[in-house]
């Protein structure tokens, strides 16, 4: 009964989304206050019913109602409660429902927290969000209904993929979706501005906190995903450049560019049409990402073709939303002209370079991700584009970007008086470079140009970022939250760079066969396999656990307990790595398999500085959060449209 109610709630939500779109856009077009008001009510109603549907599905999972096909496919009676709830978004249908819930939530937040917006403008924003919502709900109801019944009911569920039974991964999709969908707000703001045919600094001021909020969710989501891959996939990699990851990185790059270009639009009224295009792009890539990955077109064209109904719907939806927005853009953008000019060494120039480099990286990653699809469609053969391609095309734009970030933070708007800051920055750069050379030589020995450059750039960005608030404090000037956030986020970027360089340049790994009592040496540490214990019980699995004692120069350092788990619901054994985390390095052991003759295969790894990657990313997100709460955005932005 409850699943049917959930289904019914979805239908009602669809009707309300329809009302939201029609009343919102129609009310704005006719300046009809009543319609616009009703449109806002529809937003609240839509959120309520999507939430009800979501709760109905969650209830089916909690109660293990295996007469619902989706529950039977993604849960199991032995699954712990926490994962039963996270299993709600463990598959295709449920993820869509979560998407719709995030979208309805963001829409409601816009309806509530944008009292200072001009009435017709807000109405248009909500109308556009309603249109996106219609697409999602329709897609769910026509091709991917999570409430479909199974006749007869299954005796037990197939279980949630054991890889997904993890706290980080339970939280990863909601954060990622909050980010993806959050860009829908920026997208709707852009569409509303295009519909109105005008854009000004106030628009940027309204859009910025929403974009920052979405961006920080996406940052956290990607970080969690990377961290999860590191310890859960079992092999110690933190980024694989596979289509799933690229699908989240591309909107992130577009969103990062958007945040920076919004700054210019807000402060100086420049880059108007460019900012609009970025806002459309960031959301388009989010849509493309979710849909193409979920539907499998990037993973395999043929998985897509197995369900042509879904495929065609997705394509139609993408075409309508993105095509519509871009057409609107081509029609209206020529009206948006920036009047002011700026100097080459001004903040504007640096942000322009930032945008150019981010977009180049983005375009090349998009090309690499879709290239196999193009070749396949043109019948030119099967090719996969491997990590080396992505590493090169990402690294080359990022190196100059990091260099410029450090300078750009200190450049003034419009004219740019680099001369005063220049000398100090030069010193800073020299010190960073010297420190990197010393670090590389002292700790790892030898000269490694690329590693030195990476570490130096990381140190340079961190130091330069710290200088920003320090200068303000010394001058006893006000320290606005936006500035603190900016500085913190850039510090995080430097730290992430430092971490990436460290781990990619100096990691050591070794596959080895060991019998209990034997040991192996790696990066100055001795890893000794003390013994193995089988039959270690978890809530829904049984594991074989190895005890690996790590010592350095005779002194014990850590004990690692990697596991090989077999889940009751069947399937392959899963590797659970044993990790000793540290600021400077991680020690990592993964248990392979029984090789016979009392020996087991083990993968041992030494991962220097790897924590810097995620810590830096967390700082970036924190910086974004602080900036989003700057008083300036909360003050009623009652700038009248020009």
């Amino acid at each position: 009964m409850i699943p049917e109610l959930g289904h019914f709630a979805l239908v009602l939500a669809l009707l309300l989304a329809l009302a939201q779109a029609l009343l919102g856009l129609g009310g704005a077009a006719r300046s009809h206050a009543g319609w616009m008001q009703a449109g806002r009510m529809a937003v609240a109603g839509q959120f309520l019913f999507v939430l009800l549907a979501f709760l109905a599905l969650a209830q089916a999972f909690v109660a293990s109602d295996f007469s619902v096909a989706y529950v039977a496919g993604n849960s199991n009676s032995q699954l712990p409660l926490f994962y039963r709830i996270s299993a709600v978004w463990g598959g295709h249908e449920g993820s869509l429902l979560l998407w719709a819930l995030c979208l309805a939530g963001w829409s409601l937040a816009v309806a509530i927290f944008s009292g200072s917006l001009e009435e017709t403008f807000r109405s248009r924003v909500l109308g556009v969000l309603g249109l996106v919502s219609i697409g999602f709900l329709l897609f769910m109801l026509t091709t991917s209904n999570p409430f479909e019944r199974l006749m007869p009911a299954a005796a037990d569920g197939r279980d949630l993929n054991p890889l997904l039974q993890d706290v980080a991964l339970a939280l990863h999709p909601p954060l990622l979706y909050l980010g993806y969908v959050g860009f829908a707000v920026a997208f709707a703001f852009a569409c509303a501005a295009l519909l109105a045919g005008r854009l000004d600094a106030a628009w940027a001021k309204w859009t910025r906190p929403w974009t920052l909020a979405a961006w920080l969710c996406l940052t956290l989501g990607i970080t969690l995903g990377s961290w999860w891959a590191y310890y859960e996939l079992g092999w110690g990699g933190w980024w694989f450049w596979d289509p799933v990851e690229n699908a989240s990185l591309m909107p992130w790059l577009a969103g990062t560019a958007l945040i920076h270009s919004l700054a210019v639009t807000e402060k100086r009224g420049l880059f108007l049409s460019w900012t609009l295009l970025l806002a459309v792009t960031a959301f388009s890539l989010s849509l493309l990402g979710t849909f193409l990955v979920r539907s499998g077109v990037l993973v395999s064209v043929h998985a897509f073709a197995t369900d042509p109904a879904r495929g065609l719907f997705i394509l139609g939806f993408l075409t309508t939303v993105i095509g519509g927005a871009l057409t609107l853009y081509a029609w209206r953008a020529p009206r948006m002209k920036s009047a002011a000019g700026f100097e080459l060494t001004s903040r504007e120039s640096f942000l322009l370079f930032n945008n150019a480099l981010l977009v180049v990286a983005l375009a090349l990653i998009l090309l690499g991700t879709l290239y196999p699809l193009f070749l396949d469609a043109l019948e030119l053969g099967k090719i996969s584009v491997g990590p080396p391609y992505f590493e090169v095309v990402f690294l080359v734009p990022m190196l100059p970007l990091l260099l410029l970030v450090g300078i750009g933070m200190h450049a003034g708007w419009k004219r740019g008086q680099l001369a005063t800051a220049g000398r100090r920055l030069l010193w800073l750069a020299a010190v960073a470079l010297a420190a990197a050379i010393v670090l590389v030589a002292a700790i790892w020995g030898g000269i490694r140009p690329l590693a030195t450059l990476g570490l130096a750039l990381g140190l340079w960005v961190m130091a330069s970022a710290l200088l920003v608030p320090l200068d303000r404090l010394r001058a006893r000037a006000r320290l606005p939250a936006a500035l603190v956030g900016m500085s913190l986020a850039h510090f995080g970027l430097g730290l992430t760079t430092f971490g990436i360089t460290g781990v990619e340049s100096f990691r050591i790994e070794r596959d080895i066969a060991l019998a209990p009592g034997e040991s192996a040496e790696l990066a100055g540490y001795e890893f000794r396999l003390v013994g193995l214990r089988s039959g270690v019980r978890g809530p829904n699995y049984v594991a074989t656990e190895a005890e690996v004692a790590v010592s350095s120069a005779g002194r014990p350092v850590a004990t690692l307990r990697p596991q090989k788990r077999v889940y009751h619901s069947g399937g392959n054994p899963m590797t659970e790595a044993g990790i000793d985390a540290g600021v400077a390095r991680d020690l990592f052991a993964a248990l392979g398999e029984d090789l016979g003759g009392n020996r087991w295969s083990l993968r041992l790894q030494y991962k220097p500085l790897i924590r810097g990657i995620w810590l830096g990313a967390l700082l970036m997100a924190l910086g974004g959060a602080i900036a989003a709460f700057d008083r300036r955005y909360r003050r009623a932005a009652t700038v009248a449209p020009r």
Partner: protein
Amino acid sequence: MTPRRKRMFAVAAILAGVGAAALLARLAFEENLLFFFSPTQILAGEAPADRKFRVGGLVSPGSLQRAPGSLEVRFVVTDNQHSIPVRYAGLLPDLFSEGKGVVAHGRLDGQGGFIAEEVLAKHDENYMPPEVAESLKARDQPGGAG
């Protein structure tokens, strides 16, 4: 800068950026495209003898062998048409199992076999590398048996 000079500067910058990006993509592509061959294509002599590539297919049931106590494993990759023996020294991914899809990265050994440097598995148990799906011609739905 005058608006006119600014525009020219912007156009030049865009052109330079696009050019540099295109060049970069070309260079990166040349070096780093991973070619993929099925066992059938390899036996037909289509795969390069002197460079690394990927081979994919199903791990032939019953073909996995290992020397006791050693990391070295041997298995046969098949596309249900032809098969190729693969040697690998290292840890196999969790999702590796007989009868399931696999992608190995490495080179030919010149004696009809393949030496893998890396054996790949992905997040998802249901994931099938696109090339594998292609070489199996998506015809592996259970036909009511098994």
